[in-house]
């Protein structure tokens, strides 16, 4: 026993090093393997607070583009409204609330990374504002990502520029759907995989979110087809999609809650059990 203590005392530095290394490696492997189990995230009180301070300075520099974006969106919504056939017809609000499956929150991105393979964003609203994991994040131009972790006042978002991100998407014209992933190369382009070969795809076609997604509503803009690759081994296309969003400069975002998500998941879980 005494020898054991002597050994520990003698090699305390090495043992401490091994212990700390194992802890950090476990954390690393966890963060790579399955996205639910990430312990260390920037959605905590300290890091969120620091990012919010930094962002309050950066925000001023982007006021102009932010305003332009808002004005453009207003114009688009106004044109939708004016071109609506019967302008006197007002949709009954009660009816909407009864059938409305989606709730939209407004939030702001306070930290954005896009230089590594697994990129995350931090937003300044959290569980106190009603944000929960697996909500969709988008802005007026298109989708941005999916909420991953929440704390009281902050939340982290898996960016579409994350090699782990997988979002259901389809081609607007033909409604063939596939999975939106990222190959980690360019911040302007993501990849749409598993599009069947019999689909007619053309450069410039618009890609939107698909109906299979229980996170995003259908028909949200993603981007346009930039390049089409055919994989000879499988019967699928891989498509480079040019994002509408400039992922390197993001400001205000909308967060979308699908109220039916739980129900759909429960139903699907039942199928698996049988």
């Amino acid at each position: 026993m005494q020898q054991l203590f002597v050994y520990i005392f003698k090699n305390s530095t090495r043992l401490l090093f091994l212990l700390l290394l194992v802890v950090s490696l476990v954390l690393t492997i966890q963060s790579h393997s399955f996205h639910r189990s990430q312990v260390i995230s920037s959605a905590n009180f300290v890091t969120g607070g620091v990012y919010e301070r930094i962002n309050s300075v950066n925000e001023y520099l982007n006021l102009k583009t932010e305003n332009e974006g808002l004005a453009n969106e207003n114009a688009r919504l106004k044109s939708l409204l004016f071109n609506f056939k019967d302008t006197t017809k007002v949709i009954d609000k009660e009816l909407l609330s009864r059938f409305g499956n989606y709730k939209v929150f407004q939030s702001k991105i306070i930290n954005n990374t896009y230089n590594v393979h697994e990129n995350f964003l931090t937003i300044n609203s959290g569980s106190l504002n009603g944000i929960k994991p697996d909500m969709g994040v988008m802005n007026s131009k298109g989708i941005i990502g999916i909420v991953e972790h929440t704390s009281k006042n902050y939340a982290t978002v898996i960016s579409v520029l994350n090699v782990k991100s997988q979002i259901n998407a389809k081609i607007k014209k033909t409604s063939h759907f596939g999975t939106l992933t990222w190959n980690g190369k360019s911040t302007g382009y993501v990849q749409l995989i598993d599009i069947p070969r019999l689909a007619t795809v053309k450069k410039g076609d618009t890609i939107i979110t698909g109906a299979q997604s229980i996170i995003f509503p259908e028909n949200i803009n993603i981007g346009t087809i930039h390049k089409i690759y055919t994989d000879n081994k499988t019967n699928y296309f891989t498509i480079d999609v040019k994002l509408f969003n400039d992922m390197t400069s993001l400001g205000h975002v909308y967060i979308i809650e699908n109220k039916d998500r739980k129900e759909v998941l429960q139903l699907e879980a039942q199928n698996k059990d049988e």
């Binding site: 530095t13 950090s24 490696l25 990012y51 930094i54 393979h117």
Partner: protein, 169 residues
Amino acid sequence: MNSAVIVNIIRFILLILAQVAIFNKINFLGFINPYPYILFIILYPVNGNKNGLLLASFLLGITMDMFSNSGGVHAAACVTLAYLRPSFFKFSFGLSYEYQTVKINNRLTPERFSFILISVLTHHIILFLLEIFRFSFFWNILVRTVLSTIFTLALCILLIYLFKPSKKN
């Protein structure tokens, strides 16, 4: 609490803040960032407590991981660097380094330069290897390591010169 401890605590906080607020946002060519926060480990007193350095490095790394949502990547790289630091000292300054009170933040000699270079390179290789974690991105890891090392090295030397304590003697 002596002055060395206080200096190190202040350095720890300032380096993290500078890294998060400035250096993580540089994104030179879209993906190259310097990581001069490891100056904390490089500048830690040569004869300081080794276990203390290990714990402080772990804390430094895990804080960086929190800010960048990267699991334990920075922590692993920092802890390894802290553990290997004495061997790097031996390599760069010769065997009897502990007796001739080495000071890193002083005039840049080949010995000091080689020490900083090895430290930065070790840290970055581990960092990018763990961060990317896929062997299909091998060239990517290599390019990132080399370019970031150059960037960090230049910044470290620059920062050491900028904040060199004024000459007392």
